[in-house]
């Protein structure tokens, strides 16, 4: 089996290469004038596409790929690499058998692949397509060293605050737009005898999302980028400002349901949308809609709604989030055409209509989203003045992604002792310095 694999690869490359050459000859000769290859132009080309998506996400992505096949005649094989995309993809690349296009969830992986020369820069037509369809933040996130490599296909919005409309109505609370108002409204809810806020922080990742949202608003995008790469230390005064805001909220025991450090995140959603509700509000990303639908009787869009994470000190609309970026690993026309296709609103719309998907592509028609909630999530994402990738996901996992240590645990400790700002900064800095090396 092992010995067959390189041979098959060779065959694929040979066929693909020949086809590309023939096609290159064709297109330059006929000069159709269109950017994307017309139907049948990639007949006989086989492309391998890989991603971490499986299950329903895989089915929906395959629908997107099928449209490409139908339009161009190229055969597209999709492989799911499962959750550990980085390891699998790196192994494939080292073994000389990379997929033509990979859709990866980590910008860090894009950076390391680009630095090692394993990525193909987008061709000029695709670059134009990306620049027309995406805001600058997404273009920057897909670039490495000034070259554009990535097309962000899927996005996640982690700046959504979910609330139980019945609790808000009973208390007479309104949707807040500013951080002060947010604190006031939580106070009104707790006056009604239901806690304003439930936080599930038995593991520290929700705490990192709290911090990132507040920090992006108090310090701005530039500082956020510097802190993400540890260019500025965690002892920076901007970190103290964000922790002060958070500490004021987290230290208010009348607002927050007790038992935070023992509660799983899923239980905090149930606390808000269960019967009877113990709290009115829970903060996390757009995926909370899934928790609500599967674990509670509340209906997303009716009794369970969300508002954007409130603005702090007149900060501009900002979103912390995540996403999946498509990158090209082999230099052939089929792969380039697929990349260009993925950058179009048409490709994104196919999945948008299936639901459970947010596109960072600003030219996707908002009317394509199947329901009000997903439309609202997408609107706040593409209309955000500032978009930043989840900072803890960018950090080495020893700092930003390990239970019981690093940022996760230090922020839980800070929650339990929200006045110790300097000490928290010191611990964060020590841990970050060790992890960033």
């Amino acid at each position: 089996m092992r010995s067959q694999r390189p041979r098959r690869l060779l065959a694929t490359v040979a066929i693909g290469g020949t086809a590309a050459l023939v096609l290159a000859g064709c297109t330059s000769g006929s000069d159709t004038g269109t950017d994307s290859p017309a139907s049948g132009e990639l007949d006989g080309v086989t492309l391998n596409v890989a991603s971490d998506w499986s299950g329903a996400e895989q089915t929906n992505f395959e629908k997107v790929l099928k449209k490409f096949s139908d339009d161009t005649g190229a055969k597209v094989n999709y492989t799911s690499y499962g959750t550990d995309v980085a390891t699998t993809l790196n192994t494939k690349v080292e073994g000389g058998d990379p997929p033509d296009v990979a859709v990866i969830p980590q910008p860090g992986l894009l950076q390391s692949l680009a630095a090692d020369g394993n990525l193909v820069e987008l061709d000029s037509a695709t670059q134009d397509e990306v620049k027309a369809n995406y805001s600058q933040d997404w273009v920057d996130l897909g670039s490495a060293d000034g070259s554009l490599y990535g097309v962000w296909f899927k996005a996640a919005n982690k700046s959504t605050v979910w609330y139980n409309t019945e609790v808000y109505d009973t208390a007479g609370a309104e949707v807040p737009e500013t951080w002060e108002d947010f604190n006031d409204q939580l106070g009104i809810i707790s006056d009604s005898g239901v806690y304003g806020l439930s936080i599930g922080a038995d593991a520290g990742w929700p705490m990192t999302d709290w911090f990132e949202n507040v920090y992006l608003r108090t310090a701005g995008g530039e500082k956020y980028d510097q802190l993400s790469t540890h260019e500025i230390p965690w002892t920076d005064p901007s970190v103290a400002d964000a922790l002060t805001e958070l500490g004021t909220l987290w230290g208010n025991t009348t607002l927050i349901q007790p038992g935070t450090a023992q509660r799983t995140f899923g239980d905090s959603v149930i606390a808000v949308f269960g019967d009877p509700p113990a709290a009115g509000t829970v903060f996390e990303g757009d995926f909370v809609a899934g928790n609500i639908s599967s674990d509670t009787a509340a209906v997303v869009g009716e009794t369970a709604k969300f508002y954007d994470f409130p603005s702090v000190n007149d900060s501009e609309p900002s979103v912390v989030g995540g996403g999946n970026v498509a990158v090209q690993l082999t230099d052939n026309e089929g792969a380039a055409a697929l990349m260009q296709y993925l950058a179009t609103p048409e490709a994104a719309t196919i999945w948008v209509q299936e639901g459970g998907f947010t596109s960072p592509n600003k030219n996707v028609d908002m009317g394509s989203y199947p329901d009000e909630t997903s439309r609202q999530i997408a609107e706040s994402l593409v209309s955000a003045e500032t978009f930043r990738f989840d900072m803890s996901d960018l950090a080495p996992s020893a700092f930003g992604g390990t239970k019981g240590t690093g940022e996760w645990q230090i922020l839980i400790d800070f929650f339990n002792n929200p006045t110790d700002i300097a000490g928290t900064q010191q611990k964060l800095e020590e841990s970050a310095a060790a992890a960033f090396g």
Partner: protein, 457 residues
């Protein structure tokens, strides 16, 4: 040899030849024996080499390098290890485990084995005690994690505690209530009091908030202002200063705000002694009568508002190790019992019979005869448990919620976290593995020695 037999007058040469051939034969036979021995040993040796010796040596080698594995650090990882407070917590917890668990499990096993040796349905009881051994450690961990959940709706232990507590203590009518801000009221030790002093003949109102609608009794009526009191009385109203959907004027009766019935109101004199007590009516009004003419403080005692008993935070930082140890004991007591019971059944009972004939009581028989005869088994069980406990990983990894994991961690968990669980520093992880090996080694040597001694006997 045939040449020698054929030629009796053996020449020195032939003798030498004969001896030579004999030696070669012997050597060949020895070589063959060695070869056969090696052939039989080979599978075990290869497996031991691949699975034990090579990993041990490679771990020691790897522990001298950094996370990437390319830079030589010398003893740098060991210095990092011993300056990291997390390692100290891990070592401390391992020490607690070693001190508590082997002794407890061995004693429990001994008790079970000796007692069940004497009862009718012994086998059935043994089966029940041994049953946890049949459950995988991870599954047992999940069971304990669920059992000891803090939320009484999820964890059966806290549910039982809350149930018992509520039978005796009962829960208060208005848990978590607090006074409306700027209403001249203050909270003191859970009680709600007037901020200043009040004289007889005046009105004292208590607007309260933070009470869940479901806690308002059905008998509650709309709050009304209290009648003006007599000269030796104080009257007032206790009401829920909140209306559904918000609105209304904070701190004022009206807008259909409801009174809070059955709230205890007390008047305290300057030394804090209770001078009068009253309860509120359905509309929230109360009247305290027969009051002395002095400065009084009105107080709604904490019994009105105490939050319902929430149980114990079993998986919190303080108790989590105890819970994990309990789960381990639950699983391994069965193992100790079976080992000791087998030792017991193999024992020659005539000594006990003889002792009983000589008038020894059961305790003396146990202490002077049964226990000493069992001591080889007890020591095997004890040492096996020490080695097992030093290596404990699964339960500690599964039971604590992540927020308590730093307080429950042990060396093996620390090793895994550092090497694979996000740290990705296999150099430091190898150093921890070497530390664990050094800690386990003495007990392994003791065990091997004992086996050898047993065989010699």
């Amino acid at each position: 040899m045939t040449t020698a037999v054929g030629n009796p007058p053996a020449t020195p040469k032939s003798a030498a030849t004969a001896g030579g051939t004999g030696g070669r034969h012997q050597k060949a036979a020895g070589g063959r024996r060695l070869f056969i021995a090696l052939a039989f040993l080979a599978p075990a040796l290869v497996l031991l080499g691949v699975l034990v010796v090579y990993p041990v040596i490679y771990s020691i080698y790897r522990s001298l390098f950094d996370a990437a594995g390319s830079n030589f650090l010398g003893l740098g990882n060991y210095i990092t290890m011993f300056t990291d407070p997390a390692t100290f917590v891990a070592i401390r917890n391992n020490v607690i485990w070693v001190l508590v668990v082997p002794v407890t499990v061995t004693i429990l096993g001994l008790i079970f084995a000796v007692l069940m040796d004497r009862i009718k349905w012994g086998i059935a009881f043994k089966l029940i005690v041994f049953m946890p051994m049949a459950i995988s450690m991870v599954a047992a961990g999940v069971i304990f994690r669920t059992t000891f959940q803090e939320n009484p709706n999820l964890g059966v232990v806290n549910a039982a505690l809350v149930g018992v507590h509520d039978i005796f203590g009962g829960s208060s009518a208005y848990p978590n209530a607090r006074p409306r801000e700027d209403a001249g009221l203050a909270e003191a030790d859970g009680a709600i009091q007037t901020d200043g002093t009040v004289q007889a003949g005046s009105v004292a109102d208590f607007p309260l908030i933070g009470i869940n609608e479901s806690n308002i009794p059905g008998t509650a009526a709309s709050a009304v202002a209290a009648d003006d009191p007599a000269g030796d009385a104080i009257s007032g109203t206790v009401w829920l200063d909140f209306i559904r959907g918000g609105g209304g004027t904070p701190g004022e009766i009206g807008d259909d705000k409801v009174g809070l019935p059955d709230v205890t109101v007390t008047a305290l004199d300057s030394s804090g002694e209770v001078v009068a007590t009253a309860r509120t009516a359905a509309d929230g009004t109360y009247t305290l009568t027969g009051l002395p003419a002095e400065d009084l403080t009105l107080s709604l005692p904490a019994t009105n508002f105490s939050a319902s008993y929430a149980g114990v935070s079993w998986l919190g930082p303080a108790l989590v190790t105890a819970v994990v140890i309990l789960s381990y004991i639950w699983i391994w007591a069965g193992f100790a019992m079976v080992m000791i019971a087998s030792g017991l059944s193999a024992m020659d009972r005539s000594l006990q019979e003889a002792a009983r004939m000589d008038g020894a009581n059961e305790w003396q028989v146990f202490r002077r005869i049964t226990a000493p005869l069992l001591s080889p088994v007890l020591i095997v069980v004890f040492v096996t448990l020490i080695v097992n406990v030093l290596k404990i990983f699964d339960l500690v990894y599964v039971i604590p919620p992540p927020s308590s994991l730093p307080d429950a961690t042990v060396i093996a968990v620390q090793m895994w976290t550092v090497s694979f669980g996000g740290g990705n520093d296999q150099g430091l992880g190898s150093a921890l593995a070497v530390l664990l090996l050094i800690l386990v080694l003495p007990f392994m040597i003791i065990n091997v020695r004992r086996f050898r001694m047993d065989r010699e006997r």
